[in-house]
């Protein structure tokens, strides 16, 4: 991870802020493979409350079996019709949301292609998954994130980026252009939502040993690639650092009123 690519969130002590992770409500897209899977594992390890989204139901079931306390949600972030149902399940199951990680990515054409050879549909797919999907899901969850910020819990959106967002690598046109758009959207949203207490981070995790990388560079020497767990740990640190801290200053974080659906005392109807 290139620290210079983080939005300037640092200032709080990230190590101390790891104490904030237990009970933190986090949603991760693309949570069943590669970096997303490693992120879910890291967050569950820190006792965060995690919901994760993926398309493949078998992969979801396997991940659900591995993380029984987390919530597996079937959705394709590139499908407009899936966004509101996914947001409903995230906020319903977690009782709100503190952190959203837009991690799901599409490479575009596989194998990689020169732009002149890239089918329009493959380009659209990259934009749908890497730009429009994060935009729609973030927008659907912005109210929940802002509510968390107002209640002093903090709110963070992490958009997973790539050096292809900045470097014009030949053959990476669809992916690079979509990640460049995501990076710029992240920067603008961070400016716009800062006063609402929501931080937007763009994080480039580096070249990792993931299924996506294998699709892009099938003959890569895997020994030279970063382990997804390593990148996940760095992202968790960055999230913790972006939360308002230190914990003493956010004392009511754990004393926030119980959400109505969770407590019987809040329910209006009993049996006649």
């Amino acid at each position: 991870m290139n620290a210079s690519r983080l939005s300037p969130a640092q200032g709080a002590d990230a190590t101390t802020n790891l104490d904030l992770l237990p009970g933190l409500r986090v949603a991760v897209t693309g949570g069943t493979s590669g970096l997303g899977h490693a992120l879910v594992a890291a967050l569950v390890g820190h006792r965060a409350h995690v919901a994760f989204i993926a398309r493949n139901r078998e992969a979801l079931q396997r991940a659900q079996a591995r993380f029984p306390g987390a919530h597996a949600i079937a959705a394709d972030v590139a499908r407009k019709e899936d966004i509101h149902p996914a947001a409903l399940q995230i906020t319903g199951l977690l009782g709100g949301l503190d952190v959203l990680v837009n991690n799901a990515s599409s490479l575009g054409p596989v194998p990689l292609a020169l732009l002149g050879d890239t089918e329009c549909e493959a380009f659209e797919q990259a934009l749908g998954t890497n730009v429009l999907g994060p935009f729609r899901l973030t927008r659907a969850l912005l109210g929940a994130l802002a509510a968390s910020a107002r209640e002093g819990r903090g709110a963070v959106v992490v958009n997973v980026s790539s050096d292809a967002a900045r470097q014009p690598y030949p053959g990476w046109g669809a992916y690079g252009a979509s990640k460049a758009a995501l990076l710029h959207m992240t920067r603008i949203w961070d400016e716009e939502a800062r006063e609402d207490g929501i931080r937007f981070l763009s994080i480039d995790p580096g070249d990792m040993d993931t299924p996506l990388h294998a699709l892009a560079v099938p003959d890569a020497d895997r020994a030279t690639l970063k382990a997804p767990a390593h990148a996940a740990a760095e992202i968790v640190q960055a999230i913790a650092a972006a939360l308002p801290g230190p914990p003493a200053a956010r004392g009511h974080r754990h004393a926030a009123p119980t959400f109505g659906l969770r407590g019987d005392a809040d329910a209006a109807w009993g049996p006649a």
Binding site: L88, Q89, A147, E151, D196, D264, A267
Partner: protein, 371 residues
């Protein structure tokens, strides 16, 4: 307005005063557009003056030191189609209230059951459901819901969802739809009923006054030194299509007031700022929490009171709301804010200028005269 699902004129116990009894009707807004560029706002000031303004700049009528309170409840997809297994007949379920989870931990709701048909039929003309008994199963595809008890009316029942929360929420996400309105031209999609500030799914119908709360206006409040805070209130069904049930509206509605909101209210009061509610649901929650005092504590509660002309508001100073038809429970709540004569004058002016009513219509900002 008997052709509209909402609001069917609700028979309130105390009849509307002669001043407000014969007011001209407003036309409903028929397109689900939350923030029409030409949306209008009637402002009724505490000194009796009234003016008409573009709604987009509603915050311009407030002052530094005021605090604006919105309802950040997201709207549940509270309408589900199902099969009543004992009779094999189609029914529509409309979730209407939060119920205790009880020892098994299963999600439960009070629910209104309709017979076959959909939103294009006005609620009042919908077919009756089959007779419902305890332990009856309602099947939504492969997922089953269980009738646990009647709630004092043949069509109002306590409904138990599957114990597995993931299954319950995926059912709502997959099979649930927003509660629909017969006066609209098209069916509502989830985003039509999602306010920009919607956070947790808790309301059964959209807290539609909150459609004005886009992020531009939230920022404009901050620039003007006006605080913004929220509570979460389970805004409920506005109409049931049944006179006996309508007479019980609004149902008891749970709410949660965050600590930050209670603090923002106290800060505004210390500066002689006004407490401005966005929507009747916010009034109901805040006045219930205040319980006749001029302050609120953070926490959860259940709003059970009716607010009408005889209510003495102890906390809320101003209300931004949609336009409401005389003799509805929402209209009665407005009578707690301003004298009937003021309300009648406002209503006639809105009718003359073609203001639209219902969820996607125009709005009013009412300032309560000083105590």
């Amino acid at each position: 307005m008997r052709t509209a699902t909402r609001p069917a004129p609700l028979r309130v116990p105390h009849a509307a005063s002669s001043t407000t009894a014969r007011l001209p009707p407003l036309e409903p807004a028929r397109d689900p557009q939350q923030r029409r560029a030409d949306a209008r706002l009637l402002v009724a000031h505490a000194d009796g003056t009234q003016l008409h303004a573009p709604r987009a700049t509603w915050y311009a009528h407030l002052a530094p030191g005021d605090v604006v309170i919105g309802n950040d409840a997201a709207t549940l997809p509270a309408s589900l189609f199902a099969r009543h297994v004992p009779t094999n007949r189609a029914v529509e379920i409309r979730l209407a209230g939060h119920a205790p989870r009880a020892v098994d931990g299963a999600l439960r709701f009070a629910a209104l059951i309709f017979g076959a048909g959909d939103w294009r039929t006005p609620t009042e003309e919908r077919a009756q459901p089959p007779a419902l008994a305890s332990d009856d199963v309602l099947a939504c595809g492969e997922v089953t819901l269980v009738v646990e008890a009647s709630l004092g009316h043949p069509r109002l029942v306590l409904l138990r969802f599957p114990r597995d929360d993931a299954l319950a929420w995926s059912l709502l996400a997959r099979a649930g739809h927003p509660v629909q309105y017969a006066h609209l031209r098209s069916a509502l999609a989830p985003w039509d009923v999602t306010t920009p500030i919607a956070s947790r799914p808790f309301a059964f119908e959209a807290p539609s006054a909150g459609f004005v709360l886009d992020w531009r206006s939230v920022h404009a409040l901050r620039v003007r030194g006006i605080a913004f805070a929220t509570l979460t209130h389970a805004a409920g069904l506005s109409s049931t299509g049944d006179e006996a049930l309508d007479a019980r509206l609004p149902f008891d509605e749970p709410y949660v007031i965050p600590l930050a909101t209670a603090q923002a209210i106290a800060r505004a009061q210390a500066r002689q700022g006004r407490i401005v509610a966005i929507g009747t649901s916010v009034v109901r929650a805040l006045e219930h929490a205040a319980a006749g005092t001029p302050s609120v504590h953070a926490g959860a509660g259940i709003a059970r009171q009716r607010i009408g002309p005889s209510t003495r508001l102890s906390l809320v100073d101003a209300l931004l709301t949609g336009t409401h038809e005389p003799a509805t429970s929402h209209f009665e709540l407005l009578r707690a804010f301003v004298p009937d004569e003021t309300l009648a004058r406002a209503h006639r002016a809105m009718a003359a200028r073609g203001y639209r009513t219902h969820e996607f219509g125009d709005s009013m900002l009412l300032f309560r005269p000083a105590r």
